[in-house]
Subunit: 670 residues, 2 copies
């Protein structure tokens, strides 16, 4: 008995010491993620209202964010009104619903006419039977000697809108192909080449069928050791540990780490959303970012054959429930995706039947010491170094959308900057081609001729007969920056050549910074340029620092890219955000998704490119930045069978926000 007492005592002591960072589903704040109880409230309200048919699919259930103004004045103890937006698909018809969770009232329930529910995993694979029994498909399979239909899977992906005659209003049109997994170990190179069909998903019928001819399926090379082994001989262990636990504290859902404070939720549609990011500056808590998160992803493949250029994915909005049920983000593996000592967080999502579940390890948080200095200087006066080591806080999730895996990082730095990172890894999409080698002339599957008669290539062989098709990735980040308050302005500080008088002694040219306040959203379409560099800052004209400068945060791009397709192309009309690195709009609660709320079948009417045609003022008002992380991918054999991770980052950096380098007072241990 005595020993038991001691144990209690000890546990109690530990509990006092341990920072409280578990995040069991609970609503502490208006922006917190939905809890299982809340999902059930949505389900029961809709069910009670008789809106759920036997075949109703819940395509989407999302927290409806309260008005920003209300959130900003909300304080602990005040009531929280919770609402959810749901999208249902029943027998091919789409419905949108708003459930007031707090009152249990169904506030909105409308059949969507023009708009459509996103495609779910169940729907994508729900046509398999119909498709593989279509006589045209059967014949194509037979021609290829594929008879065992149990190993054939035919799928449909959304056709977007490409102005097919069958794409009449509200009609769900998809297209797709089939895979054959006979003798496969991993299925990502088992696409049957040449088969392509367009599908009326409402009628469950193929409306167009093409067979581009037989290309032998190459042997499976997507083989990898799923387990991995022990360390290589000679490799000495590197041990990283935090024996006293992490330094961040999470209280009622708010993360505190050094001078940073923020909240986060895991959203089924866009993944991680950070909120109310603020910086503790002495006794002042200063606002930086009201909300930051992904808004959309756009992955167009680049191959002349429609079997492949039909691969145009708007992964966040169009394929709402990717791969399995409930959201784009997927579990992280401790020791691989995040250090084993990281803190992991579960997420609450929903099955396609509308019922909730809690999935573990969907996000992780850890402190990282890189071994790099925060700052350092060797002084010639003393022949000695001054400097400080640094650590950072990493908040990480991973989205898997079919073949690709994207790590999404929010990294909080001691120099008061935030680094946003996208790490792309996973498996390439590959097309079977005749070519076993890449010696010229290449087959039409791999190569063609440009207008000047020179060879162009559409992908690269990564294994014999296996063409990894060229493609792009664009990630649109919605960054509702609120630097020292909601009213901000976009400053574009151009670096321009500046002529000195002819009488000048040595130099006759310098460059100078030309600060410019951008007036309207129409003028706020910005690209990085090596010839015409500029800094992009979100400045508060109402708050000056002690030096009389507007306080601001800079968006500092990393290596990025823009779309090479003309804006006349249908995919570009739908994902036009990819045409610029940065767009800035006035805040609107209706403008959360850069390619629209309803992406399936959309013509791009509810998209950033359309919104900005209003040419609204963006001066000294609540503004939102849309930053595109973009890159083109010409695959390499070294990207097969799994891609080495490739990171792209951008930063939010204080500029005149603080009076000096905030890392000056860091300690001598990281």
């Amino acid at each position: 008995m005595v020993s038991r007492c001691r144990l209690y005592f000890f546990s109690f002591f530990l509990a006092l010491l341990a920072p409280s960072f578990a995040l069991p589903p609970a609503v502490h704040h208006p922006l917190d993620a939905m809890t299982p109880d809340e999902y059930w409230k949505v389900y029961n309200t809709l069910n009670d209202a008789g809106k759920l048919g036997e075949k109703t699919i819940f395509s989407s259930i999302l927290l409806q964010e309260p008005d920003k103004a209300d959130v900003l004045v909300w304080r602990p103890g005040m009531p929280i009104v919770r609402k959810a937006d749901a999208v249902l698909l029943t027998e091919g018809k789409s419905y949108e619903a708003t459930v007031n969770i707090s009152t249990g009232k169904l506030e909105v329930y409308t059949e969507l006419k023009k708009d459509q529910a996103p495609v779910t995993e169940a729907e994508m694979h729900g046509y398999d039977d119909v498709l593989k029994k279509d006589p045209q498909v059967m014949e194509a399979l037979k021609k290829r000697g594929i008879n065992d239909l149990r190993l054939v899977t035919c799928y449909v992906t959304p056709a977007g809108h490409v102005a097919l005659p069958e794409q009449t209003e509200g009609r769900r049109i998809g297209w797709g192909g089939c895979t054959y997994t006979g003798n496969a170990k991993f299925a990502w190179d088992r696409e049957i080449p040449g088969i392509f069909f367009v599908v009326d998903m409402n009628a469950k019928k193929i409306t167009r069928f093409s067979d581009y001819g037989i290309v032998p399926m190459p042997p499976t090379t997507s083989i990898y050791d799923a387990d991995g082994g022990a360390a290589l001989p000679g490799t000495k262990p590197i041990i990283t540990s935090q024996p006293e636990g992490p330094s961040f504290v999470i209280k009622d859902g708010e993360v505190s780490w050094q001078n940073w404070r923020f909240r986060f939720r895991l959203d089924p549609r866009v993944g991680p959303v950070v909120n109310l990011v603020s910086y503790q500056d002495g006794d002042k808590r200063r606002s930086v970012l009201y909300e930051g998160g992904l808004s959309e992803m756009y992955v167009p493949y680049q191959d002349p054959e429609e079997t492949w250029n039909s691969h145009v994915f708007l992964d966040a909005g169009e394929y709402f429930v990717n791969t399995g049920s409930g959201g784009i983000i997927k579990p992280l593996l401790a020791g691989v995706d995040c250090p084993a000592s990281a803190t992991f967080f579960s997420g609450t999502f929903f099955h396609e039947n509308g019922t909730p579940y809690i999935r573990p390890q969907l996000a992780c948080m850890f402190e990282r010491v890189s071994g790099d200095p925060a700052w350092r200087h060797w002084d010639e006066d003393t022949y000695a170094v001054s400097g400080r080591p640094t650590r950072e806080l990493v908040f990480r999730t991973v989205a898997t959308v079919g073949n690709y895996d994207y790590l999404f990082d929010w990294r909080f730095e001691q120099d008061a900057s935030i680094v946003v990172g996208v790490g792309a890894t996973g498996i390439l999409e590959v097309k079977a081609v005749k070519d076993q080698r890449a010696d010229s002339p290449l087959s039409a599957g791999l190569a063609g001729k440009d207008t000047d008669g020179k060879e162009v290539q559409f992908g690269q062989l990564v294994a014999p007969g296996l063409d990894a098709v060229d493609h792009d990735h664009y990630f649109s980040y919605r960054l509702d920056l609120d630097v020292d308050g909601t009213k901000n302005s976009l400053m574009v500080d151009k670096l321009v050549p500046y002529k000195l008088p002819d009488s000048a002694l040595g130099r006759h040219w310098i460059w100078a910074m030309k600060p410019e306040m951008v007036k309207t959203e129409g003028d706020a379409k910005l690209n990085t340029s090596i010839e015409h560099p500029a800094m992009w800052r979100f400045a508060n004209e109402n708050v000056k620092n002690d030096l009389g400068q507007f306080t601001s945060f800079e968006i500092m791009p990393g290596e990025t890219g823009i779309s090479l397709l003309p804006s006349s192309e249908w995919p570009q009309k739908r994902a036009g955000f990819s045409e610029h690195n940065l767009w800035v709009t006035p805040y609107s609660s209706k403008e959360r998704y850069v390619s629209g709320v309803y992406v399936m079948g959309s013509k791009g009417e509810d998209a950033l490119t359309e919104w900005v045609k209003q040419n609204r003022s963006i001066m000294n008002t609540d503004i939102v930045a849309w930053y595109t992380v973009g890159f083109h991918h010409v695959p390499r054999p070294e990207d097969w069978p799994q891609m080495p991770i490739m990171w792209h980052t951008f930063s939010l950096r204080p500029f005149g926000f603080l009076p000096k380098n905030p890392g000056m007072d860091l300690p001598m241990t990281p």
Copy 2:
């Protein structure tokens, strides 16, 4: 006695276990750094030949690299012929010498007529007495109430060549100003504003003097805690250790780590040079990079006043012996610049009197685990993650050139890529201005008008009265890539829009890759472009991989910049490499320094921009890449009093060099 025996035994055992990585000065290979004995051989040979006067300064002593062909066939046990190139400055006259260290013969000794020795620290400060006693300077100091000349330091920096009438052939012309350190703690904001002079360094005379008027010197704000304190409250320790030591092995100067093999030396002029970088691919050892290192640095300041736009630094070639004696690289601080567990390496350099010294901790090497995956994939088939953690090998040095500190990294990755990083930190150069705040209108010290009458700014206030002047940084890396052998070709794979037939179903445009072999160096001036992206590859046309593709390595740029000044400007003629991100030339042993061997006073005749006018073929021959890491810096208050480190990187990435992702077989522990 018994216990002592045991100790011996134990030590012996440890010695067997420990990798041998100490690098005491020794010549194991033709490219190894010069040893103290070799420096003495140079000294004694020159002394014996009667070439050393009482006031002779050794401006440069560098290993003369043997012919590349000889190095490539050299094997251990074969004789090594060692030579050194020296530059001497005696009473204003420059001499170049070549000493055959192996034979003790003075092979070359010539007075330089057109060219000049670089400026050394001793020379820069050697005019102090003359300058501060110049009547014009005296008067200017007096006007400012500065009477205590002991606290005044007047310095000279090279004027480069800017076509001043006094810049006749061989005449050493500099310019400079003075600092006053009365009541200072750290001296970097103690420049006396407004004083500027041009100096004939041979005659030790001021040839021109300007006084731009009195601006009060602002109070010292460059204050920082040199020691740093203990951890902040609530900050929990992060422990990183390698209890069994590092996994790399250095044998006879060659580093082996995982599949990488390379050598390095610390060069007094350009710092770290890596050599003979190869990749172990099964039982084949494959060449990647014969030599990689910095070639030059160029830091032009951008201010209309000649006191400030005269700050144009070619830090590697012009100021040969920076800050103190012996080379640009300076000691690293364990636990700040590199993890405390890193392995540190000394370097052997020379004093200005020609005598050698060994300085500790000039480079470090460490393995780093970031907590990021090498690759990972969550598969929808199994709902499970496969992946591997990763580690990297970092080889790091730091250059301090006056106020700025640059970390130079060579990072060797498990995906067979090499990341080259430049981390800029240290102290800003600041100019005293009248403005205590940045409210408009700003003084002429800070701002002016563009041709359209709009305000432009030349720097930013970082403290009251303290303008941190805009400037650029350009680092030219010389990369002698030898992918699978010396004969390589530059492929520029452009991504170009590609029109599909009108009959195409959904898409009418894709992009395609248009591979192009660049024929001559004149066509190999390349910039990154967001509108016209391209991949830059070093391909071996004589070696194909199993898929029939040329083996290659890609130079993948990171965020970078080019000069905004017209090429008609004198600094640009001397540092024209800053006008493009990538240049490619045929290998020439004479072309090592992008702004010439002799930079002091040069007109840019022996510079990359001139070399490429020959328009030599670069196809299927030994070629060299010149990659520029460039960035513009508009300083922030957050950059004061020490700058948070800012990293810029680029990568060398295998492309068709390996048959698959080399990280597939990594173990489950990093």
